[in-house]
Amino acid sequence: MTRQVPEPLLGLNGLSIAFGGLRAVQDVSLDVMPGTLTALIGPNGAGKTTLFALMSGFLQPDSGSVRFNGADITGRAPHLNARAGMTRTFQIVQPFAAQTVRENIAVGAHLHEPRRAAALAAAEAVAQRVGLAPQLDKPAADLTVAGRKRLELARALATKPKLLLLDEVLAGLNPQEIAEMIPVVRSIADSGVTVLMIEHVMQAVMNLASHVWVLAQGQLIASGTPGEVTSDPQVIEAYLGPGAAARLQGAHLQGARSQGGHLQGTHLQGDGA
């Protein structure tokens, strides 16, 4: 039996876009394999959300291509990509404020389900999965930040995506909320959905992702397992500034001598807007 090399579900090739003089994304290429849970990290302003917008069709690239599920979808409209199985969430949550949680999720369910009753039922099921069941009949505007994040996730999930692009689904959550959300994301991935997440919460990235890409100033500067990437000096410098890697190396050696502490588990923030 021939060993088949699996096709990437999502393939970016030389993707670039500039806004005026600002080169937001420069020549980014990466492959997301089906069935994986991967992460895209990088300091604030690195271009991660812009990259999501390019992937999902909200922005047209200046050059480069996006392939999804074997087809070239470069610049294709977002709703068509959603129908093909690629759904994204937003960094700044966008609920349908005037509607209830159930109705919100139902819009996602309606992508594949034309009947109203079935869509509402599907919405209820999805709400159960993400822990929103008690809030089903609340207006979306009444939810807390954590609730809205779950709603964003639920709505995307209801579209039965092949690829789920999660943009900072943990941002703004307190540690307990994060701890509650992580298993939800894992269970989604376990159910067969390929997940690519933009995240700042390193705890989640280390816990969940099998592969990490690092974006800084629009360019891909590292790609590998979470462990590899977080010890990459280039990555450290992207977050903490030039010379930081060397300093940390020095401190690391000192710390290793005294108590063996290391970087894993810290919350790496970007170095500015």
């Binding site: 909200f58 709703h79 759904t87 349908f96 404020a97 509607q99 995307a156």
Partner: protein, 319 residues
């Protein structure tokens, strides 16, 4: 959905009951004019309340329906009922055209409102300048009372006609509240980008809404012609009509099933009241409409039905 349908049946029964038992011409005229205003408000509500696209030139569709109704009978010799069907279809078609053009280019908010205003003005100018529309003088329908001719000797006949349209509009609005299309339309209204991300095509959905809205508004225009046997460019395409439709919908509560009914009723009561108190002063009606609009937007942005909802929510302890 069942609750909405039951409410619609109840509403119809009440109106029929009042129509059948009322003796006075004043009451019957009031019912007829209120239903007529309701129809216009419902049409606007489909696009504005449920679709989130505020049209300031809805008279565009009204006038189209009116002129088609008149010209089909006068110039083409068509039967009044056929003309009515044609009027609705053509008005819907104009909605489709304007929507296809404006939504394709992503016009929304104030720009959309302005464009609808411009289109209404263009049609008005054309109606004034072109010969076969009767020019500035307008068109008159000869008096020929008969059922086949859609002209009734008593108000009752007209009430049945407009009631038919109002019930149809109620049905369509209820459908918007409980269907996939309606859910997608409201999603686009509430957050277009989020809707796109989960598979909704905003252009198609808005197009559907403006077509429906245009068709019903055209029906109102055709109805006007049958009742008053007259149409001219300023009634057909003028700001008065556009404003009446939108104020009633907003005052009653945009994006609700009964808002337009409530709004039309309240505004008409108000208009009648002021007429009784101050006499028939030209412009007084509109001053009141405008003031009510500003007051409602300032203090009751969800309209009068919003008041009902807030009270109900408080009662249920939700707030």
């Amino acid at each position: 959905m069942k609750r909405d349908l039951a409410a619609i049946v109840l509403f119809t029964a009440v109106v029929l009951g009042v129509t059948a038992t009322a003796d006075s011409g004043v009451v019957l005229t009031f019912v007829m004019m209120t239903l007529y205003a309701t129809l216009m408000a419902q049409a606007w509500n489909m696009l504005g309340g449920y679709g989130g696209q505020f049209s300031f030139g809805h008279a565009l569709f009204f006038g189209t329906g009116a002129y088609v109704q008149a010209m089909a009978q006068l110039n083409l010799g068509l039967n009044a009922w056929l003309a009515l069907a044609l009027a609705v279809v053509v008005a819907a078609g104009v909605g489709l055209f304007v929507g296809a053009l404006t939504f394709r280019y992503g016009l929304k908010g104030s720009y959309f409102a302005l464009v609808t205003l411009a289109f209404a003005e263009v049609f008005r100018i054309i109606a004034v300048s072109v010969g076969f529309t009767g020019g500035g003088v307008g068109l008159m329908l000869p008096l020929q009372e008969s059922f086949a001719n859609l002209q009734f000797s008593s108000r009752r006949g007209y009430i049945m006609l407009v009631l038919g349209f109002v019930v149809a509009a109620l049905g369509v609005t209820a459908w918007l509240r409980h269907s996939r299309f309606g859910a997608q339309l409201q999603a686009v209204r509430d957050n277009e980008d989020a809707a796109r991300a989960i598979g909704v095509d905003p252009w198609r959905v808005k197009l559907g809404a403006i077509t429906l809205s245009g068709g019903f508004m055209g029906a109102a225009g055709a109805f006007y012609v049958q009742v008053f046997q007259y149409i001219d460019p300023s009634i057909a395409f003028g700001p008065h009509t556009s404003v009446e439709a939108l104020v009633a919908a907003i005052v009653g509560g945009m994006g609700t099933l009964w808002g337009p009914v409530l709004g039309a009723l309240v505004l008409h009561l108000l208009a009648d009241l002021t007429r009784n108190l101050f006499g028939q002063l030209p412009g007084l009606n509109m001053v009141i409409y405008g003031t009510v609009l500003v007051v409602i937007v300032m203090f009751l942005p969800r309209g009068l039905s919003g008041v009902g909802r807030s009270v109900r929510d408080a009662w249920r302890g939700r707030k």
